[in-house]
């Protein structure tokens, strides 16, 4: 019987083979020979698919929690959390309504009562949605008070306003999906205002609802918007938003 290798020896053996080295690129902190040097710190940010959203270095004042309050980052993280929990919920939900065919509501009941962790994940999704609307709003206020929309960042502010609108639309389309009284009537109140759009009021409302009033078509339409169309669009705008932050020289300077 060979002896069990010491932890250091074991670590060396795990890290020093072809497979491990193929997975972790040079500069990865998991790769053998990572040293806390400027070079390896730079590589850690550059050679990692997640971290290279960031530049290698950032302004020191931006690290202070009271400068950004992490609001933009948290908005994005909540979006990720919503995507993950949302995918889980999609396994148990069919966007179908109508007399004798109330699958959406039945699936909601099953999700809450029967599905393992169903209620927990649903609550997480809902809390995260409310939180995201809040953090996006606060992020906008923070950016304004720091004057961070000034040149060269004007266009990124415009992208940010579009992202705020998309966030609201995502939250609002999701609100209808439980297909209970709260959902139906909150959406009814919200969409009744769209009918007052000048000139095209009727058409706008018809487009939104997929009919003259909220019904099964609305549910299907808003479901597709909620799980596919709007996330697709918001992802593109997020990419532009993050890219412009880098191109415009990182977060705004100290006041």
């Amino acid at each position: 019987m060979s002896r069990i290798p010491a932890p250091d020896e074991l670590k060396k053996r795990v890290q020093d083979n072809v497979v491990w080295k193929s997975v972790f690129r040079p500069g990865s902190i998991y790769r053998k020979g990572y040293r806390d040097t400027s070079r390896d710190r730079a590589l850690a940010a550059m050679n990692n698919v997640l971290y290279h959203l960031h530049p290698v270095k950032v302004k020191r004042h931006g690290l202070k929690l009271t400068y950004t309050y992490c609001l933009g980052g948290l908005s994005f993280f909540l979006f990720i959390l919503l995507t993950v929990t949302g995918i889980f919920l999609m396994f148990f939900y069919r966007p179908t309504a109508g007399a004798g065919n109330e699958l959406a509501y039945a699936d909601m009941q099953r999700l809450v009562r029967v599905v393992t962790f169903g209620d927990l994940v649903r609550n997480m999704h809902r809390w995260a949605a409310h939180a995201m609307v809040f953090t996006v709003f606060m992020h906008m206020a923070r950016v304004f008070y720091h004057g961070a929309y000034k040149p060269p960042r004007e266009f990124n502010w415009v992208v940010g306003v579009i992202l705020l609108l998309l966030t609201l639309l995502l939250a609002f389309t999701g609100y209808l999906l439980p297909w209970d009284q709260l959902a139906l009537w909150a959406v009814a109140v919200g969409t009744s205002m769209a009918g007052f759009t000048p000139v095209f009021g009727q058409q706008v409302q018809f487009l939104l609802l997929g009919g003259v009033e909220i019904g099964p078509e609305t549910l299907l339409r808003w479901y597709v918007l909620h799980v596919l169309a709007l996330p697709f669009v918001i992802t593109i705008f997020l990419a532009v938003h993050f890219w412009r932050i880098r191109k415009d020289g990182g977060i705004s300077g100290p006041l």
Binding site: L63, L81, D119, Y175, W185, S192
Partner: protein
């Protein structure tokens, strides 16, 4: 070609003795060897080589007191007599002036062709196109900023923030907060009927304005378009709060207004969307 040039050992030893670096001594010694060989072959020397031996008087005059004592108006290869590190701006300017003077000299001797100078034994010509200021044409050097590495500093704090939020959301979600109501029924209108909280400010506005104003004009024109145009309307370049009192006042007014409307719509409106006091009549608010 350069590899095969033997060097003048004497010059090399002298330069090493004078405290020059090995690289400079080697190149100077090689140059000296080439020079000697060309002289022996009877070739005419270019200004580059010639000035090393016989400094042009004009060059020395143009260089003034700052000119190196030994080399006179040599071009960049000329050895500096002082040998104390890099050149000062004045020295460099003096050298450029001297080089130009030497060039003028060559033209006067009938050797040159205008501003172009033909080197001895070489085919390519060298033409002076412009004077380059001593500090260069472009400053590419980026300004030194107070920066830190993203890894580990930023990533560490981001990670903590993410963990904190995940914990917070999960802890909230354990509590029953969102009971499922009865099946949606278009024929039974609950009282009050309220929009989601982020639209309650608008619903509150509906109490005061025509729906076209409260539902379309204010959120669409003032809210979305107005916000998008903020960077184009506010042309004040300063980011210091002291210099942007108008912008900050306007935005604070807007945000407080929106917040007030939302709070009132959320907590102070009950059945029929009429005014209630939440501590008297209870909450009519659902997330």
């Amino acid at each position: 070609m350069a590899e095969n040039v033997e060097m003048d050992q004497k010059v090399y030893d002298e330069l090493i003795a004078a405290g020059k670096s090995e690289r400079i001594a080697r190149s100077k010694a090689k140059a000296a060897a080439v020079r000697a060989k060309k002289e022996a072959a009877g070739e005419k020397l270019g200004p580059r080589e010639a000035t090393a031996e016989a400094p042009a008087p004009a060059a020395a005059a143009a260089a003034g007191g700052d000119a190196p004592a030994a080399g006179g108006g040599g071009v960049a290869t000329a050895e500096r007599a002082t040998g104390t590190g890099g050149m000062t701006v004045e020295e460099r300017q003096a050298r450029v002036a001297a080089a130009l003077a030497a060039k003028g000299d060559g033209a006067a001797n009938g050797r040159g062709n205008g501003a172009a100078t033909r080197y001895a034994g070489q085919d390519h010509t060298h033409r002076l196109l412009a004077m380059v200021p001593p500090d260069g044409i472009q400053q590419i050097r980026s300004k030194q900023e107070d920066k830190v590495y993203v890894w580990p500093h930023l990533i560490a704090s981001e990670f903590i923030a993410l963990m904190a939020v995940t914990l917070f959301i999960t802890a909230l979600s354990v509590l029953p907060a969102f009971p499922l109501r009865e099946l949606a029924n278009p024929n039974i209108t609950p009282n009050p009927s309220k929009a989601p909280w982020y639209f309650l400010g608008l619903q509150e506005l509906l109490r005061y304005f025509h729906p076209m104003i409260a539902g379309v004009t204010i959120p669409g024109i003032v809210g979305l378009l107005g916000l998008m145009m903020v960077p184009y309307m506010d042309r004040n370049p300063s980011v210091r709060p002291d210099n942007r009192k108008t912008a900050i006042t306007l935005m604070t007014f807007f945000l407080l207004g929106a917040g007030m409307m939302t709070l009132v719509g959320s907590f102070f409106r009950g059945p029929g969307f009429n005014w209630v006091w939440p501590w008297v009549d209870g909450l009519f608010f659902e997330l």
